[in-house]
Symmetry: C2
């Protein structure tokens, strides 16, 4: 399928000027980005009516199927949230639940301009089936813990082999839930696997002050990054979600290893975990990505809200209204995420995947047209997303979804899955 | 015009259970809220398709026409923002600029479910003309300072007399820009006027730490609330915007005077001003309202984002994920605001103004349907607003605006006004 997107404003990258022009897509790739021309024989021509084309957004940390748990455990302390509300339901999860929960999340993703996501959850085959339906780029992130590690290494090997070759739009990251849920032997085993295969790793890192404190007590004063480094977990780089309580030494270590922090401002705010030192990361020339975390804790998968928080929480924390400008948030939500996850996208370039969002500039919240980049971060929200294209397919178009399942089916199934899990947990 | 809104879920108040039913409107008022019945002869019947009806949102602090300045001065320190970017343009503002700036803001308001606003800016007649076009409830808040107070008291009297009688949907609050921009004689004069007329007052209060510190130095250790109290400014109550740096004694004083704090979380975050002590206000049985502040500083007029921040910034500040639950944010954004401004609305009750929003529940970010109130605050955004009704008139309906001017005209005029102001400021 050849698509021509014309009569558009184009932000090829947040670090470049926006210009008037058009984009051509052939199959799953972008084949042209530039000024107007008339020599492309397209199967479909889309008049962008002077709205803005930008890269699809990369949600670099989430637990997609937790969408099923949205709204069941809000305004609660972290421990009550996790132990009383979430874990009892997760115990009964089936691949079917994960499939429908992921589909619900993917509907929200494409509604909100998200074309790429890193998912840490159960049943990777079910997650992949859902992502393939809609054609999103998917990083499957293994979240082993000592509780769920039976036969784990065999599973990691199986999934790594399968998902390292199946498509350029899926990758597999061996990894751990977190330091505090992993015995040393497990960390070493995953590190060894990464060393053998050259794989990058993925983990929740230094999300709460308690996590860091407990780690230093257990491990002779070593913080989670220092301890994991010692065990070789970061030898090939990878991604670390949260990084709220990382100090200068931690950041230097992560940078040295090529580990990309994934910032989850909304989740950290709502669970009262803290504010990650994004300003320091940028100052150290690191390139943090952005995640929404799961919707049981956030509760929206809105990269617009996350970009806003990425910038404005730093202004607050640093007491400096000039800290972390809009352009840094746009980079984190696009190029930084795609690069960290290893997908060929995050900017509108010839050869990249055609992961593209069309942003409505003709809405009151985008006027006057003084600075589109500032408006994207400080003023836009999901109401400005007109169209989302994943790997060359139009998956969302002004209220219409083309993601393999109808929204009505997804909504009904998500309700059924949740009620079933709640019933099972209640009769346990 | 009689309108029947049927097949709906109804949140009459955030403190009550949501139920299935319908609402009848006659003229500008609600005449029925309850279960289904078939005896109302409506001119228009609207099938809500099991979506949610709730009160229109009250934006209790803004500077509407500053929408013209959106995106011209972001990622800058507060002083540079104000003195280098905003003031030089405001110097040349005409009533026509204020009219079109306010119209742009009103388009955004109704797009986002806002049906009532408190505006502190120049040229009240131009603001009223814009608000009347769309039928929003309008509180005109005088923002005198010693710089712009020539003939001020005559003007206050004129506007107070005019706007206290013209309509039940408009009110006038005599007031001051802030303590730090007012000489004592001016504060006393406005206080005297309030005493004579029984009027409530309006002011920016304790927005920054510098403002509070400077005030205590100037006035023998008195904070802004204490100093204004001493001069009788709060004798009839009123509203105070921001209240970021208010301590226990300040809050006790404001409560005693019946002054309602208006929280502007987004603006305070972006300008690095701080986080208002909402948790303490609620704990002291105060009923804070919510404002977006002007879009030159926020930059969106999204009460959804403000509700989210109202709750989540407190969770962060108090290090308690249970602090300030969703229901408190919903109350602040509806009933508290309407009550503070003195308009008969903020809840869906017989006799109240028909200021109503229809929220799309059939969107991925609202599923599963576990708890609509939590989803409204933590997950919803402006993309969930299907329809906005102001005083019995449908002013926004899925992309269609009925606000007296076409969006295209508003967009064009807002661009023209801004360019004209920039040209004048440049040739000055």
């Amino acid at each position: 399928m050849k698509i021509r997107l014309y009569n558009a404003k184009i932000m090829a990258s947040p670090s470049e000027n926006i210009f008037d022009g058009e984009i051509h897509i052939d199959g799953e790739r972008i084949v042209y980005v530039g000024t107007t021309r008339n020599d492309f024989m397209a199967d479909r021509e889309i008049d962008c009516r002077k709205n803005l084309l930008m890269s699809g957004l990369c949600n670099a940390h989430t637990h997609a199927a937790m969408s099923l748990f949205r709204g069941i455990a809000d305004d609660l302390p972290l421990e009550a949230w996790l132990y009383d509300k979430i874990f009892p339901l997760e115990e009964f999860l089936t691949p079917d639940d994960v499939y429908w929960g992921t589909m619900l999340q993917i509907a929200e993703f494409v509604r909100n301009g998200i074309t790429c996501f890193a998912d840490m959850y159960f049943y990777p085959d079910a997650v992949y089936a859902a992502a393939r339906n809609a054609g999103l780029c998917l990083a499957l992130c293994c979240g082993l813990s000592s509780e769920n590690s039976r036969d784990a290494l065999k599973e990691i090997e199986k999934y790594f082999n399968k998902y390292s070759t199946i498509s350029r739009r899926v990758r597999y990251f061996p990894g751990l839930h977190a330091e505090y849920t992993s015995e040393e032997s497990l960390i070493t085993a995953v590190s060894d696997f990464a060393a053998e295969t050259g794989a990058q790793t993925y983990i929740h890192l230094s999300e709460t002050l308690k996590e860091v404190g407990d780690c230093t007590v257990r491990h002779n004063g070593l913080t989670p990054p220092q301890y994991l480094y010692k065990l070789g977990f970061f030898d090939n780089g990878g991604l670390a979600a949260h990084c709220v309580y990382t100090d200068k030494e931690d950041l230097a270590l992560l940078k040295q290893c090529g580990v990309v922090p994934v910032i989850n401002g909304g989740s950290n705010l709502k669970l009262a975990s803290g504010i990650a030192p994004v300003y320091s990361m940028l100052y150290s020339d690191m390139s943090p990505a952005i995640g929404t975390d799961g919707t049981a804790s956030n509760n929206a998968s809105s990269m617009f809200r996350e970009m806003y928080l990425f910038s404005c929480l730093q202004k607050h924390a640093m007491k400096d209204a000039a800290a972390v400008p809009a352009e840094s948030a746009l980079l984190a939500a696009t190029e930084n995420g795609y690069r960290a996850l290893g997908f060929e996208g995050g900017s509108l370039r010839k050869g990249n995947f055609a992961d593209i969002v069309l942003i409505d500039l003709h809405s009151p919240n985008m006027y006057p047209h003084s600075d589109h980049k500032k408006s994207l971060v400080f003023s836009a929200d999901n109401s400005n997303v007109l169209m989302t294209i994943c790997g060359g397919n139009v998956v969302y178009d002004q209220g219409e979804y083309h993601i393999g399942e109808s929204p009505e089916t997804i909504y009904r199934k998500s309700e059924e899955c949740l009620r079933k899990l709640q019933k099972k947990a209640a009769t346990e």
